[in-house]
């Protein structure tokens, strides 16, 4: 995951879901439709790609790049908050 120069407009894909039935042979597609909660314990983790601040630089990170490891995701309400 080499650091890339940040072009300011390098959009990340956001949620990445594999539709149950689709014409392109099951390749992951970027979800454009209304999103809803998909996370269920005991089921595959919903995949996504987001831009990130990592090792002092900027890069996009895809969750499934970490497949094969134990992963902990921590959502939090915002930078500079108090808890």
């Amino acid at each position: 995951m080499a650091e890339e120069k940040d072009g300011c407009v390098k959009p990340s894909k956001g949620p990445i879901v594999v539709a149950e039935r689709q014409s392109n042979g099951g390749q992951p597609t970027v979800q454009k439709e209304e999103v809803k909660m998909l996370a269920r314990v005991g089921k595959p983790a919903p995949d996504f790609e987001l831009s990130a601040y990592i090792n002092g630089g900027f890069n996009n990170i895809r969750l499934s790049d970490y497949k094969g490891k134990w992963i902990v995701i921590c959502f939090y309400p915002g930078d500079f908050t108090f808890v």
Binding site: D6, S12, G14, P15, V17, V35, K36, M37, L38, A39, R40, V41, G42, K43, P44, A45, P46, F48, L50, S51, A52, Y53, I54, N55, F58, I61, L63, S64, Y66, K67, G68, K69, W70, I71, V72, I73, C74, F75, Y76, P77, G78, D79, F80, T81, V83
Partner: protein, 150 residues
Amino acid sequence: MSAVAVKHEELKALGVEILAISTDSRFTHKIWQEEELSKMVPGGVPFPMLSDGGGRVGTIYGVYDEDAGVDIRGRFIIDPDFVLRAMEVLTPEVGRNVSELIRQVKAFQHVVKTGEVTPSGWVPGKPTLKPGPALVGKVWEQWKPETAFD
């Protein structure tokens, strides 16, 4: 977030990769790290900080608050097979218990490795149970509720 960072070495020793996510931009993450977090934790938080502008990823994980426009506090454990094992979602006022996170990671790693199950309040060293026909109706012989507490 800084509490997770303080325990990062212990989590890393367990083979855990941590990803922090908020709706802030990557630029805000950078400045928070440089201006504040690095003063709470030597070297700053040592894991990636992801930007979920619009809360699209928070929505599929059930943590996006549309009214506030932010991802509320949510913590998810994913195993090496990419199966979601645990989730904990809190309203923003109450912070996480990182020790409980570590306990759960150890418990999930134990059950994956051994096929045993861990009763309520299990920590490494406490008895586990081996599920099967022989155990039906006999849990009371092997495990007492008092065991669930320190």
